[in-house]
């Protein structure tokens, strides 16, 4: 009896498929597949916000947990609205000044059925803009005024990110026309966020007690994160989200490269962790947990630009170098430059965003997209990549420096010393993250 019903059901399905096939063209199927692919991967990239929130909260102190979680939530909420209002127009609007900036399509909202592609593309782009913005909260953690951070986040999502994004990802952008290749955003997303993070950390200054002068010599102190389990969960979530970030950037569910992009992304992240683990093990004598987490993210950031044009072998090499770079950068920024970056955001996103972009010019191996130094392309691609790195670095660095200096002058950037010592949860939000727990806050 059951078999007969199954057979009937199958028969019915066959007929209905046949009916659909008569009316649907291949183009319709492609449209549907692309729609599903971009909305699905966009949602995966959105989930990276949770990853950032957990990494940053886990690696900072309990007395600031509410504050950093609020920043991670609200930079997406403010950022997505301003990106709809004007950011999209600067990034993908009609080109002005020969590829420098877009200028149309502000407050865009067409209601006809044919504009489905705008909505699909806008959703896929807004989650990238938000990723760039949220990088900064980690570097400025534990000492920034909440309202000043909100002002900053509106500016990066509305203006700083869209302009350099226009150069690279808009078909009219000047770097795009030169042949600059940044597949999923090592430069567009990560290094822009990383440069802003660096400038924010410099303008803010270090947390109280981070660099203590003892007998004329500055000694560097550590503030251990309060929940390493959260930091791990955050990194796993980020890695998971990266499978939307990179494979989604094919911009088409029909693209045969999706599989290889997923493979190179996996290998890049894994190799980053391995290199950071072994390097920190030799250097610090013990396998360092939070440094290994930074290694995963460093590998993923570095493989983001070249993931579609390099072989699996090259992706392992890129990941390994990224893992080494992140450990060196964290030590250099902390111990030599004495810039306080509580979660290593600058080392992960700026340093490896730059490295990943240059890696395209070295290991790139896809004819017509990017052929690097090691595959007979000479220095041509590497030169273009370097030009893009310098141009975007100068743009993001200078604008965000001016922005933070302006916020500091007008509203103030830092909380009072007393509030910083008591914790920003009580000072900024008048409520603690861990009610009912007695937590030592006497660090």
């Amino acid at each position: 009896m059951r078999k007969r019903i199954t057979a009937l059901l199958l028969l019915g399905l066959c007929f209905s498929f046949a009916a659909i096939a008569q009316e649907t063209t291949v183009g319709d199927v492609a449209t549907a597949v692309n729609m599903m692919w971009l909305v699905l991967t966009g949602a995966l990239v959105f989930f990276m916000q949770a990853g950032f929130a957990f990494v940053e909260t886990g690696l900072t102190r309990a007395k600031n947990a509410t504050n950093i979680l609020m920043k991670n939530l609200m930079d997406f909420c403010f950022g997505s609205i301003v990106f709809w209002m004007i950011g999209w127009g600067f990034m993908y609007g009609a080109d002005k000044f020969g590829g420098v900036i877009g200028f149309s399509d502000f407050f865009k909202g067409p209601m006809d059925a044919d504009s489905f592609s705008f909505y699909r593309d806008w959703f896929f782009q807004v989650v990238f803009a938000a990723t760039s913005a949220t990088i900064v909260s980690g570097a400025m953690a534990e000492r920034t005024q909440f309202k000043s951070y909100l002002i900053y986040t509106c500016f990066i999502s509305a203006f700083i990110y869209p302009v350099s994004g226009h150069w690279i990802w808009s078909a009219d952008g000047w770097l795009f026309k030169l042949g600059f290749h940044d597949f999923a955003g090592s430069t567009v997303v990560h290094s822009v966020g990383g440069w802003a993070a660096l400038m924010g950390a410099i303008v803010l200054g270090p947390r109280i007690g981070k660099y203590v002068k003892v007998d004329g010599k500055v000694s560097v102190k550590a503030f251990p994160g309060h929940n390493i389990g959260w930091a791990f969960l955050g990194v796993f979530i980020l890695w998971f989200g990266w499978y939307g970030f990179n494979p989604g950037s094919t911009l088409s569910g029909m693209d045969g490269a999706i599989g290889r992009v997923a493979v190179t992304t996996t290998l890049g992240g894994a190799a980053g962790a391995v290199a950071a683990l072994i390097f920190s093990w030799i250097w610090f004598k013990k396998p360092d947990a939070s440094m290994t987490l930074n290694g995963v993210l460093a590998g993923l950031v570095a493989i983001t630009a070249p993931c579609a044009v390099v072989s699996p072998g090259a992706s392992v090499v890129i990941g390994l170098i990224a893992g080494l770079l992140v450990v060196l950068a964290v030590e250099f920024i902390d111990k030599i430059l004495k810039i306080d970056d509580p979660v290593g955001a600058v080392s992960v996103h700026m340093v490896n965003g730059v490295f990943g972009t240059l890696a395209v010019g070295i290991w790139g191996n896809v004819e017509g997209k990017a052929v690097g130094l090691l595959h007979g392309g000479g220095f041509h691609q590497l030169g273009i990549q370097a030009l893009g790195v310098v141009a975007v670095g100068a743009w993001a660095g200078i604008t965000s420096l001016l922005l933070f200096l302006a916020i500091k002058a007008i509203f103030g950037l830092r909380v009072s010393a007393k509030e910083e010592l008591m914790g920003l949860d009580l000072g900024e939000h008048k409520s603690e993250a861990y009610h009912g727990f007695q937590i030592f806050t006497n660090m």
Binding site: K418, L421, L426, K430, S431, E432, Q438, F440, T441, N442
Partner: protein, 113 residues
């Protein structure tokens, strides 16, 4: 021999420790404590509803010292903990009958140092 007990603000503990170190007082016990004095309490807010927090987080420091060290220790604690605002804390000094080091069985002033 005296036992010095001080209640200070948690965020002042580090300064107190450094001042004690400068005064060559190296031995200290620290526990988390809750309490209230003149500072009374503060208000938190949860979903718009006011919460009165009456017992404040404090740090309790205990140091047993020989008589010559009493004044330097008290001065060091004050230098580290004073901000001039209500809530800086209190110091109690109590005579100490005896002190025994468990490992050696030493007693009195030799056991303290």
């Amino acid at each position: 021999m005296k036992l010095i007990i001080a209640y200070v603000q948690p965020h002042k503990l580090n300064d107190v420790k450094q001042e004690l170190y400068k005064a060559e007082v190296y031995k200290i016990s620290v526990t988390n404590a809750m309490g209230c004095g003149q500072q009374k309490g503060y208000h938190e807010s949860y979903r718009g509803v006011d919460i009165e927090v009456n017992l404040l987080k404090k740090v309790r420091i205990e140091i047993a010292v020989n008589d010559a060290f009493v004044t330097p220790t008290i001065d060091a604690i004050i230098r580290g903990a004073r901000s001039g605002e209500i809530g800086d804390g209190k110091i109690f000094v109590i005579p100490l009958e005896d002190c025994i080091r468990i490992r050696t069985g030493e007693t009195g002033t030799t056991a303290i140092g």
